[in-house]
């Protein structure tokens, strides 16, 4: 038995040690907003916040998440920064297919929490998530827009 705090709610699940947090979220908690992309922490589609840090959940064992605050895309619109990020994403019309965007929004939320007015270099350093639709410029614009609201 593992006890997790996901989006402020305590959840108890059965999972062997080593099970990636991603699959606990998707399969055991039914939270499919967090996406499977590569399984090796390369693409960032699975990014969630663990104690506010952008974390690639496909490679983050569930036991390491015990005692932390996990935030997923499902709660982003009630997150004090995340809701501005989402509004900016909509304003900039950032997503195309949208598959990577949960991870992008989470990564941007973590960035803006520590760096409300990120420079281009800050964005480059923090936003390493892959978008195959190539929405990188729209994402950068959205991050700047969100920063203006903070």
């Amino acid at each position: 038995m593992v006890e997790l705090t996901v989006n402020g709610v305590s959840r108890t699940i059965e999972a062997e040690d080593g099970t990636p947090l991603l699959w606990v979220l998707r399969e055991q908690l039914g939270m499919t907003g967090t996406k499977f992309g590569c399984g090796i922490a390369q693409c960032g589609a699975c990014t969630v916040l663990v104690d506010g840090q952008a974390t690639r959940s496909c490679s983050f064992p569930v036991e390491a998440a015990v005692g932390t605050q996990i935030t997923t895309i499902e709660a982003i619109e009630t997150h004090p920064i995340g809701r501005h990020v989402v509004d900016a994403w909509v304003e900039a019309q950032a997503p195309q297919c949208g598959y990577c965007q949960s991870g992008q929004v989470m990564a941007a939320t973590a960035l803006l929490a520590t760096t409300p007015k990120p420079t281009r270099d800050d964005i480059e350093a923090a936003m390493t998530n892959i978008c195959r639709c190539g929405t990188y410029n729209a994402i950068a614009r959205a991050i700047s827009l969100a920063g203006e609201k903070l």
């Binding site: 062997e16 099970t19 990636p20 699959w23 399969e27 055991q28 039914g30 499919t32 907003g33 967090t34 996406k35 499977f36 992309g37 590569c38 399984g39 090796i40 390369q42 693409c43 589609a45 997923t72 895309i73 499902e74 982003i76 619109e77 989402v86 994403w89 909509v90 019309q93 950032a94 997503p95 195309q96 297919c97 949208g98 598959y99 990577c100 965007q101 949960s102 929004v105 964005i123 480059e124 936003m127 390493t128 998530n129 892959i130 978008c131 195959r132 639709c133 190539g134 929405t135 990188y136 410029n137 729209a138 994402i139 950068a140």
Partner: protein, 752 residues
């Protein structure tokens, strides 16, 4: 995608034939023979987009539209949304003629069926070739106008007035004006209107009066796509389903003789069962993670090569060697003007070059998956990422051994596609899901790992082109010869019979053919060189153009250099006959602040230069300029300026976004991407070894949409092919190094 492919898809009525459920039958159902019998290729004219084309489904209002009591307009889309904005585009077109708010639409991908075959004169349906808007523009306009007429008629009956006394405002039928105006909402009228006969030839709005078509409207579903609320195929949840992970044969064609530790696997947490499938082993479990953990540990005895087989010694250079060996072979004529032999004999100077491009993966962010559920009534539901529901219905029926009419295909939004989700035989997961659901008598969802995705994609084929140009004393081109070598996805999936006479594979030749430049004497030919059967071939964003425009436009710059001419001026001179192309080329130059080749020193101190290229993909015209510098031996692209002329525009904002996206994938392919083989196995199986463009190398992309009024062209793909040559030509201008082999990352560039 070429006209050849579009035509090849034209006859897609599922073949009704019994299915052999023997092992051999199962294999055939999942194998590369899948396409055969589906398509009778014909070279049909592409007279679409204009009213008057066959619109045999445009009166079927009730099949497409449902207006809910809350005013929401539910629209069935023959095309699948995968980021290209097609849901929004069709809503925007219908909204114009229906007289409705485009934001009131909820659009879903339609099920298979006759009613939704809106392409090719009402006979075909697929999402690809940048065909969606241009092939359905007239259909959706007429559909919207028909629905509007029915709503007006319903209001006329209710109010007991002639229909001619009524008009519409967005979402309602209106009687009278000013103080005496009264109106009834579409929602109130919907039920009565649906019972009416659709009128023939409803009046269409004059294009000068368009209010939504041509506007930069926001796309639908952007908030949902920003908050994880879209359910892609991989998110499908079905009551009672089990999850499956698969391990394909390391070398395509090998079959699983046995899983030697099957008992041990079954003892692992959550594991339900272990299955041998054509070319793969599957573990079925209560969760996908349990299935994957067990599949990772499976000890499989592979043997009995069967079906499309990969060569055991196929390595990094095997195919390139074959293509190079074929260079110079006489090919089939694709384009010809004048006597090329005589022209070359009169040339004072001949320049030659050879170019090549590697296999590419689609690398869409959503890995392939499929879910299958057999129902008590004998029907089958399949949720699968796909670009052609009718073809997948037929394929699923054959695998399941039931009638196509008993198969429901669900087509969720795609997490990217770029050509990945056509029916590619063993590159699709739905046959596995169906076979497993049948075996375990429960619904099954198969999810491929990223490694399986890379190893079993249908790749953009490796190809090689040779060029030869004869110049006269003045440096003018008097003879031009180009030859494309290889095998394209049209040959592979539709057979040589689809290639016409002489046999020319458009999916390997487009971009060498169809160029706008005028050469007095030229010959373009196709040299067939087959790929191993074990390498699946697919349509990759902009298909043949994705490599051929790089080859052609780079060589054109080589000609310019040899003739000591400016490459921009050379292009203008070769386009003397075409106002449309010269206008577009000048638009790109204007957008970039005027043509400036360089090298020059940028404000940040870096040495930079610019390159230019043109492309004529999918009915649209594109001119591209790129500005580069060199850092640590690698090209850095700072800005890309694209002028695109799609003839006519539905949504300029979406077009600009699609050009951004297409430019990104074009640059990614030029700089980094290549599928590599080692001893018959795919060696590049995740994003650590298959490098793609990330944020840190994304240039600014500036787009100008030029609406020339020409017949409507495509939008999703045309932004891709101009980017690699524009960048390569800029690199040459900066360094003098001519890049002739993709991707650029394998060539270390000298500092400028």
């Amino acid at each position: 995608m070429s006209a050849g492919l579009a035509a090849a898809f034209a006859a897609t009525m599922p073949a009704r034939r019994p299915v052999n459920l023997s092992r051999r039958g199962m294999f055939a159902a999942a194998g590369a023979g899948l396409f055969l019998g589906l398509a009778i290729p014909v070279r049909a004219p592409r007279a679409q987009g204009a009213p008057g084309a066959a619109l045999r489904h445009a009166g079927k209002v009730n099949a497409y539209l449902r207006i809910a009591p809350d005013g929401t307009i539910h629209l069935q889309n023959p095309f699948v949304e995968g980021g290209q904005g097609i849901d929004s585009a069709v809503a925007q077109i219908v909204a114009e003629e229906l007289d409705a708010d485009p934001a009131a639409f909820v659009v879903t991908c339609a099920p298979p069926g006759e009613d939704f075959r809106v392409m090719q004169g009402g006979n075909a349906r697929f999402t690809g070739g940048s065909f969606s808007v241009r092939s359905s523009f007239a259909h959706f306009r007429t559909l919207g106008a028909t629905a509007r007429a029915m709503l007006i008629e319903a209001a006329a009956q209710r109010l007991a007035v002639p229909a001619a006394a009524l008009t519409t405002a967005p979402g309602r039928v209106v009687q009278g004006t000013g103080a005496s105006e009264r109106s009834i909402t579409y929602a109130e009228l919907a039920q009565a209107a649906a019972a009416l006969a659709p009128p023939e030839n409803p009046p269409l709005r004059d294009s000068s009066a368009f209010r939504t078509i041509g506007q930069p409207l926001a796309r639908l579903g952007v908030r949902e796509r920003s908050t994880g609320k879209i359910a892609y195929a991989i998110d499908t949840k079905v009551d009672g389903m089990l999850l499956a992970a698969v391990v394909h044969a390391p070398r395509a064609g090998a079959q699983p003789a046995a899983v030697t530790n099957e008992d041990a696997l079954k003892a692992l947490p959550g594991v339900h069962s272990v299955h041998r499938l054509p070319g793969a082993v599957a573990v079925v479990a209560d969760t996908w993670w349990h299935a994957k953990k067990a599949a990772d540990q499976a000890q499989i005895a592979w043997q009995a090569l069967q079906g499309p087989v990969m060569e055991a010694d196929f390595g990094a250079d095997t195919m390139l060697g074959r293509l190079k060996a074929a260079a110079g072979t006489h090919g089939n004529t694709a384009e010809e003007a004048g006597d090329i032999a005589v022209a070359f004999s009169n040339a004072t100077r001949v320049i030659e070059a050879q170019y090549d491009a590697p296999y590419l993966a689609h690398a869409q962010m959503e890995p392939t998956s499929a879910t299958a559920r057999f129902n008590a009534d004998g029907t089958l539901d399949v949720w699968v990422p796909n670009q052609a529901p009718d073809i997948f219905q037929a394929s699923a029926a054959r695998t399941a051994g039931i009638e196509p009419s008993a198969v429901r295909i669900h087509s969720p939004p795609l997490g990217g596609f770029f050509g990945r989700h056509f029916a590619y035989g063993a590159a699709n997961a739905h046959p596995q899901a169906i076979l497993l659901a049948k075996a375990v008598e429960r619904p099954v969802k198969v999810i491929w790992t990223r490694e399986e995705e890379f190893a079993r994609d249908a790749y953009r084929p490796m190809a090689l082109a040779t060029f030869r140009a004869g110049l006269n004393v003045a440096g003018e081109i008097v003879a031009f010869h180009a030859a494309g070598h290889g095998e394209g996805p049209i040959t592979r999936h539709f057979g040589t019979g689809a290639l016409g006479t002489p046999a020319v594979d458009g999916s390997i030749m487009e971009g060498l053919t169809g160029k706008p430049y005028r050469f007095a004497t030229k010959r373009v030919e196709f040299v067939p060189v087959p790929h191993p059967p074990g390498i699946n071939l697919g349509f990759w964003r902009s298909v043949g153009h994705s490599m051929n425009d790089f080859f052609f436009e780079s060589f054109l710059d080589e000609i310019a250099a040899a003739a000591n001419k400016d490459p921009f001026a050379l292009r203008l001179s070769l386009l003397d006959h075409s106002d449309r192309h010269r206008t577009l080329l000048n638009a790109a130059a204007d957008l970039s602040g005027g043509w400036r080749r360089g090298p020059f020193t940028a404000p940040d101190g870096t040495r930079r230069a610019r390159g230019v290229a043109m492309a004529s993909p999918f009915g649209s015209e594109v001119a591209t300029i790129a500005e580069v510098s060199i850092s640590e031996g690698e090209v850095v692209v700072h800005d890309i300026w694209v002028a695109i002329d799609p003839g006519r525009v539905v949504n300029p904002r979406t077009i600009a976004e699609q050009v951004q996206s297409a430019a990104a994938i074009g640059l990614s392919s030029a700089m980094y991407e290549a599928i590599e083989f080692d001893r018959g196995e795919v060696a590049t199986r995740n994003f650590d070894t298959y490098r793609v463009l990330r944020r840190d190398r994304m240039p600014q992309v500036h787009v100008r949409v030029v609406e020339s009024g020409a017949p409507m062209g495509g939008v999703g793909e045309p932004g891709t092919p101009g980017v690699p040559p524009a960048v390569a030509n800029a690199v040459f201008a900066l360094t003098g190094q001519r890049l002739r082999s993709l991707p650029f990352a394998k060539t270390r560039l000298s500092g400028a």
